[in-house]
């Protein structure tokens, strides 16, 4: 087991390093300068150059890279050019917002998707099944940002059930916080839930054809027990994997959702930081995202390995 873990951890390293190097190169090669934006549009070139020097931006690229690598390895993530705060202090609050939204969306997706998937599988080839499959395909084809716009128009502007935008942290009121997360989670989660519906349905259909299910039925076990205790449990295994993969999909969807709903999350922070050429924040955010995704994949690998005896742990 330890060897398995060790191997996996070692493999995690390039997963983290590659994105970081790419980010470093891409940002510094692209035009646009943080010093110029901070100073404003009438600063003289000399003043911009002075600020650039103060920010350490005028060193040759290889030198910058060496310094940067040293800092990353020691987790000295620097100070944001824009916020003037250490990146390590800044990221957690944004990450928590994204986490809150993503978890809510994931919960919605898994709960709704599994339920609908099981229902569809049990009622296979009936109108219920066909209807659900159709809805699922439609759900996968809906762009999150368009759905978000429609949801805002219906629930926030017309019905006034939820705020149009903005974020209230849970510490300022659980219910208020939930209200600000509700529509974003819905917009993000519907697509994922459609994917999980299909996955669960297909997985259930596989399991329902297995001999041991036939046996259980033949032994006279009530259908509810057959489905609930045996079928769903086995069918859930591949869905767990999909749920894990959903994390990366949710993150890319989160960017446009956070923009639309003005949620101060990691996605919005990343986009704004890239536009401002706030290098420390972009690098810190990419590091955090890469580490999170790598850790998530590691956990999924372990779960999968534990569940499926065919996977060798040695």
């Amino acid at each position: 087991m330890l060897r398995f873990l060790g191997q996996r951890l070692l493999l995690m390293i390039p997963t983290v390093v590659v994105p970081l190097v790419l980010v470093f190169l891409l940002l510094r090669l692209a035009p646009g300068d943080p010093a110029a934006q901070i100073l404003g549009d009438q600063a003289t070139p000399e003043q911009v150059a002075t600020l650039r020097a103060e920010m350490g931006l005028d060193l040759p690229l290889p030198v910058q890279f060496v310094l940067w690598t040293k800092n990353v390895v020691t987790l000295k993530l620097g100070t944001s050019f824009f916020f003037k705060q250490p990146v390590v202090d800044l990221l957690p609050q944004y990450a928590l917002v994204t986490l809150q939204t993503a978890l809510a969306a994931l919960f919605l997706a898994v709960a709704l998707g599994s339920l609908l998937g099981v229902i569809a599988a049990i009622n296979r080839d009936t109108i219920i099944d066909r209807g659900l499959v159709g809805i699922a395909v439609l759900g996968i084809s809906l762009p999150e940002f368009w759905l978000a716009l429609l949801l805002i128009f219906l629930f926030a502007v017309t019905l006034k059930w939820f705020p149009v935008s903005g974020y209230i942290p849970p510490t300022d009121g659980l219910l208020a916080s939930a209200a600000t997360i509700a529509l974003p989670a819905l917009a993000l989660g519907i697509r994922q839930s459609a994917l999980i519906t299909r996955m669960m349905r297909s997985s259930m259909l596989d399991v329902l054809g297995e001999p041991y299910i036939v046996t259980a039925r033949a032994q006279g076990l009530p259908e509810a027990v057959v489905i609930g205790r045996y079928a769903v449990r086995t069918a859930a295994i591949p869905v767990v994997t999909v749920a894990g993969l959903s994390a990366s999909y949710l993150l890319s969807g989160a960017v446009s959702i956070e923009l639309i709903f003005s949620l101060p999350g990691l996605g919005k922070l990343l986009i704004d930081a890239v536009a401002r050429r706030d290098y420390p924040v972009v690098e810190g955010a990419v590091l955090l995202i890469a580490l999170t995704l790598a850790a998530l994949n590691l956990v999924i690998d372990i779960i999968y390995a534990l569940l499926d005896p065919r996977v060798r742990l040695g």
Binding site: I38, Q42, A43, K160, P163, G166, I168, R276
Partner: protein
């Protein structure tokens, strides 16, 4: 029975949701203002982008304050006098003013602030040209040594970058380094700031308002709200919706497409400030094809201003096709000099000028950004379409604000850029007249006229000089104006004493919040 229970539950849930929306963390007498963006740094002296002065405009004060009639009035200075030769300007400071940190203001703080302002980019350079030194004379007097007689300095010092901060806060910070906290004397102090979330200003208990009547940023500052909370929101429809759903009290910078619906809505009051600013385009007169005056004239005469302004504003009620470089019609500087036939294209003249310029169809790089607001980008888009009909090709480069600001300071990288120009306290302060401002307009006649404008004292003579400058602008066309636009904000019904003068659009400390 069950259905009643379910219905009650859903009603309760939605009621809770709504109350949660309206409740929020705002206190009873707060004023929540939604704006397009907050500045990255609150220090107004290091940036020349006017929208970045918003927080400082409410938390800080200068030696003088601008009233709603564009006149400088006493603020941190009780009075000022010139000596006989008009080469020294002495300010007598207001006694007993405290900074937000608790320290008492003395002339040392004023000297430190003004010296730093002199070294800063933008209007600070104007002060540098007009003065040779700033010194203290006793703890309540500050002396400026002038390089020549000039009357514009009290007006210049009303500008937000010239506010007075404590010497301790400024310690070690050059004119390009932002101070860590803006330690000022204003009626509100900054208690919380996250550039992409909010800026919270809380009423300062130590503030002593002046005795004179309130007028813009002059006179008594009432500070009726407990806190001013500025919230950034880039999308205008969301700003509007925040006010409509009660999540905010004021939303600024809205497009006029929303006007009709909002006017009919009893829960909000629209605030329209006419003649707010000019929408402009500035040419690179130093390098590249636009250095050729015939080409610049050709473009000026090719444009039909009305469709350009209509596309940018949406409704003819809210803009004026007006050639005056000073947009406020009530201003003494307002003038139509030099602009006969403004706004109507002259096809034959354009063809003639293009031939004269030897224009061969090369693409002209026009910089603009969508990050500011519609009036920045839409005129460029419309102008591009109009110019195409004459065979003038525009390479419209839309870029994020950061890239736009940097690119336009490099004379090799652009030919034209979009901009805007409000009325200034004095036209000599207009940034375009400075040869170091992007566009780099240097012209011996212009330099001479600007120098005369800065150093003449007689108002009537100055107005005449300004008319000459404007005539020169319309002859040399280093930049063009499309028209004057109004600004549009909304406030919830019950918000009182809103600003209606273009002189003080960033001032919120006199606004009365909704009574609860």
């Amino acid at each position: 029975m069950r259905s009643i229970f379910r219905r009650a539950a859903s009603l309760l849930l939605s009621a809770l949701a709504i109350s949660a929306v309206h409740g929020g963390p705002a206190n009873a007498a707060d004023l929540r203002i939604v704006v397009p963006q907050l500045p990255a740094a609150l220090d107004p002296t290091i940036t020349t982008l006017g929208t970045n002065w918003l927080v400082a405009a409410n938390a800080c004060e200068g030696l003088t304050g601008l009233d709603d009639n564009w006149q400088p009035q006493p603020m941190l200075a009780d009075s000022w006098t010139y000596d006989d030769k008009a080469l020294t300007l002495t300010f007598k400071l207001r006694p007993g003013m405290k900074f937000h940190s608790g320290a008492t203001m003395t002339s040392d703080d004023v000297v430190a602030s003004l010296r730093r302002y002199r070294d800063s980019a933008g209007t600070g350079a104007v002060l540098k040209n007009l003065t040779s030194d700033v010194t203290a004379d006793g703890s309540d007097t500050v002396v400026l040594k002038l390089t020549g007689p000039t009357g514009i300095i009290p007006g210049l010092l009303t500008l937000t970058p010239a506010v007075i901060m404590s010497k301790a806060a400024l310690a070690g910070k050059s004119a390009t380094q932002a101070v860590d906290t803006i330690d000022c004397t204003g009626p509100y102090k900054v208690t919380e700031f996250q550039a992409d979330r909010q800026a919270v200003l809380t009423r300062s208990a130590d503030y002593k308002p002046r005795a004179e009547a309130t007028s813009g940023s002059a006179g008594a500052k009432k500070a009726p709200a407990d806190r001013l909370i500025f919230l950034p929101q880039a999308e205008p429809s969301v700003r509007r919706d925040n006010v409509l759903t009660g999540g905010a009290d004021i939303a600024t910078t809205l497009p006029f497409d929303f006007y009709a619906d909002l006017k009919a809505n009893a829960a909000v009051q629209p605030v329209v400030i006419n003649d707010n600013q000019s929408l402009t385009a500035v040419f690179n007169t130093m390098k590249g094809p636009m250095a050729n005056v015939a080409l610049r004239r050709a473009i000026y005469h090719a444009l039909e201003m009305d469709p350009i302004m209509l596309a940018a504003e949406g409704d003819q009620a809210f803009y004026v096709i007006d050639p005056s470089w000073v947009p406020d019609r009530k201003s003494v500087w307002y003038s139509k000099a030099g602009a006969d036939g403004f706004g109507t294209p002259n096809k034959d003249l354009v063809k003639k000028l293009l031939a004269e310029a030897g224009y061969k169809g090369e693409a002209l790089r026009w910089l603009t950004s969508k990050d500011f607001y519609q009036g920045h980008y839409l005129p460029a888009l419309t102008a591009q379409q109009q110019l195409e009909e004459y065979g003038i090709k525009i390479d419209l480069q839309v870029m994020p604000a950061a890239t736009y600001i940097q690119t336009r300071s490099d004379a090799d990288k652009f030919d034209i850029f979009s901009s805007f120009l409000p009325t200034y306290v004095d036209p000599v302060v207009i940034p375009y007249l400075n040869a170091t401002y992007p566009g780099f307009w240097s012209d011996p006649k212009k330099e001479e006229l600007v120098k005369k404008l800065a150093t003449t004292s007689d108002q009537a003579a100055r107005v005449a000089i300004w008319a000459d400058i404007q005539k020169l602008v319309y002859d040399q066309v280093p930049y063009i104006k499309f028209g004057t636009e109004a600004s549009f904000s909304i406030a919830r019904k019950g918000v009182g004493d809103l600003t209606t003068s273009p002189a003080n659009t960033q001032v919120f400390y006199n606004v009365v919040p909704v009574a609860k």
